[in-house]
């Protein structure tokens, strides 16, 4: 990883954006990778089919935690359908395109959880 990219990621790890919970969240979703111990919890509020507010909490490695932080910035205010078409590649690019394939699993955890949350919400009554 180039060192400015590393700094960008570490900055998000040390100072996570959108960290916390939403009191009046429309829904919350939590998932992790048991073999890594990484866990991410998302609180979401949707208005007019847009992701009006998103907050996260969790534990895990720097890559996974920084990735969610960066992700929340990228998707906040986005239309739900657009979030669903946000690809793995989009996520990796948002991270600066420097993450090693070895860490893709960590880097993509947040996006996976977000999509699962939105799909579950959709199919809920």
């Amino acid at each position: 990883m180039e060192s400015d990219n590393l700094e960008f990621i570490l900055d998000h790890f040390k100072n996570p954006r959108n960290y916390g919970t939403i009191e009046d969240a429309d829904f919350s979703y939590e998932e992790g990778i048991p073999s890594c111990g990484d866990v991410i919890r998302l609180d979401l509020r949707i208005k007019n089919n847009k992701l009006d507010d998103i907050k996260f909490s969790g534990t895990g490695c720097a890559i996974s935690q920084a990735s969610v932080s960066i992700l929340t910035e990228s998707v906040e205010g986005m239309e739900v359908s657009k979030v669903l078409s946000f690809t793995d590649n989009d996520m990796l690019e948002a991270l600066g395109g420097q993450v090693s394939p070895i860490r893709f699993k960590c880097a993509l955890l947040g996006l996976t959880v977000l999509k699962k949350a939105l799909i579950e919400k959709k199919s809920a009554p």
Partner: protein, 416 residues
């Protein structure tokens, strides 16, 4: 003069590296520093060549015909059993059963012995230090047969609570199954003592030597155990081969595990009789090349000498522990008593997930492991859950340890 004698018996890891082609490999532009030996070892040229040579010149099925290649394969494969038998002081090569790995070895015993011999109320004793492969097969038996699993704990230093041992043993204890060297803490357990205690109540003893046999000289008769299992890939051998040592009467009395070709004597639709040892337990076409390669790995280890290997690793271990102790942000698990230990150090860096540690070491070409090390109960007991781990072998050097610790310091700094 004294120094000369000493250095003559100590191995030179720089020379040994030449025997291992993987060290020509560069990782992320850096020379490979391989400190993940507890997961698997690298392979010397002689082992790689034996595989190549087998497929180029002898490849054939064993036991199955009277042509030259088949005969050569059979002899080579049997010879490999002999080498392993001698390596661990077993009386006869027929006491060695080749399996895929230590995990299959334990499962073979759980099914072949446990499923047919245990009954409700029987007990098995393991320790909290076990690798998952010496826990989960017994849980299967517990659920199928209603047996009880007792667990010997560890103290805060990471040693087995041997004082609790007698209280956990009774005439209900049918098997004591113990890890010889911990893949998390490096601790070498007093298996000879444990065996003696187990024998007092008539229990059988199984030793999981997966982490000890690559590093220590082992003699099954000295330990006095009934079964011993290990994996070839951790002791310089190929993937896909492991073994069980078992006492003759026990192996003879045991039911087979897998059923099919080569393990039978006579088959009718109504009834089948079994082949002699060890074939009774090696059903189907075995990993012939794996066995042969393991034999060559044993040759290599014996050539270097297990004592030399142990002394070298001990030196690395002491060196690394001292160096790491200089930094209070490195938390080391175990290694707090003077019990014997192999070259395994699990550690964590304050505030940094071990995955990040391992990932950033990897960028410098340094391979270490991070995770739960397939020993979740022990990790939970020691409140560590996840950790990074360095583990040494005969080709590692002090310079590599220095470089590793220098990199740890840089990682720590980045996260500040």
């Amino acid at each position: 003069m004294e120094k000369l004698i000493k250095s003559a018996t100590v191995l030179d890891p720089h020379l040994i590296k030449n025997d291992f082609p993987v060290f020509k490999r560069r990782v992320n532009g850096k020379p490979l520093i391989y400190l993940d030996n507890a997961a698997t070892s690298q392979k010397p040229e002689s082992v790689i060549n034996s595989i190549d040579n087998y497929y180029r010149n002898h490849n054939s099925n064993i036991h199955r015909g009277v042509h030259t290649l088949s005969y050569e394969s059979t002899v080579m494969y049997e010879e490999a059993h002999k080498k392993v038998a001698e390596f661990i002081g077993a009386e006869d090569w027929r006491n060695i059963i080749f399996t895929r790995n230590a995990t299959e070895s334990i499962n073979l015993l759980a099914y072949g012995w446990g499923l047919h011999n245990l009954k409700e109320g029987d007990e098995i004793l393991i320790t909290i230090m076990e690798h998952h492969s010496n826990i989960v097969p017994w849980q299967m038996l517990r659920d199928l047969k209603g047996i009880k699993i007792n667990v010997l704990g560890v103290d805060e230093k990471g040693n087995l609570k041997l004082d609790d041992l007698p209280g956990l043993l009774s005439e209900r204890t049918k098997l004591v199954s113990v890890i010889h060297a911990s893949n998390v803490l490096g601790t070498v357990n007093p298996v000879k003592y444990i065996t003696q205690e187990a024998k007092k109540v008539g229990a059988l003893v199984l030793i999981d030597a997966a982490q000890s046999i690559p590093h220590l000289s082992i003699d099954v008769n000295d330990i006095g155990c009934d079964f011993l299992v290990a994996s070839g890939h951790k002791m310089l051998g190929p993937t896909g081969i492991g073994f069980i040592y078992g006492r003759t009467e026990l192996l003879q009395d045991m039911e087979p595990f897998m059923y099919g070709g080569d393990m039978i004597e006579k088959v009718t639709i109504e009834k089948t009789t079994w082949n002699e040892l060890p074939w009774k337990f090696e059903a189907g076409t075995p990993n012939i090349v794996g066995g042969i390669g393991l034999g060559v790995a044993v040759d290599y280890l014996q050539n270097i000498g297990l004592t030399n290997i142990y002394n070298h690793e001990e030196e690395l271990l002491v060196y690394a522990l001292e160096k790491m102790a200089e930094y209070d942000w490195i938390k080391i698990y175990g290694h707090k008593s003077d019990s014997q230990s192999v070259g395994v150090i699990s550690f964590n860096i304050e505030g940094i997930h071990p995955h990040d540690v391992a990932g950033m070491l990897d960028e410098q070409g340094i391979a270490v492991r991070s995770g739960h090390h397939c020993a979740q109960p022990l990790m939970r007991e020691l409140s560590m859950d996840f950790a990074a781990r360095v583990s040494f072998y005969l080709y590692n050097t002090k310079e590599e340890i220095d470089l590793c610790i220098e990199t740890l310091k840089k990682i720590k700094k980045l996260f500040e």
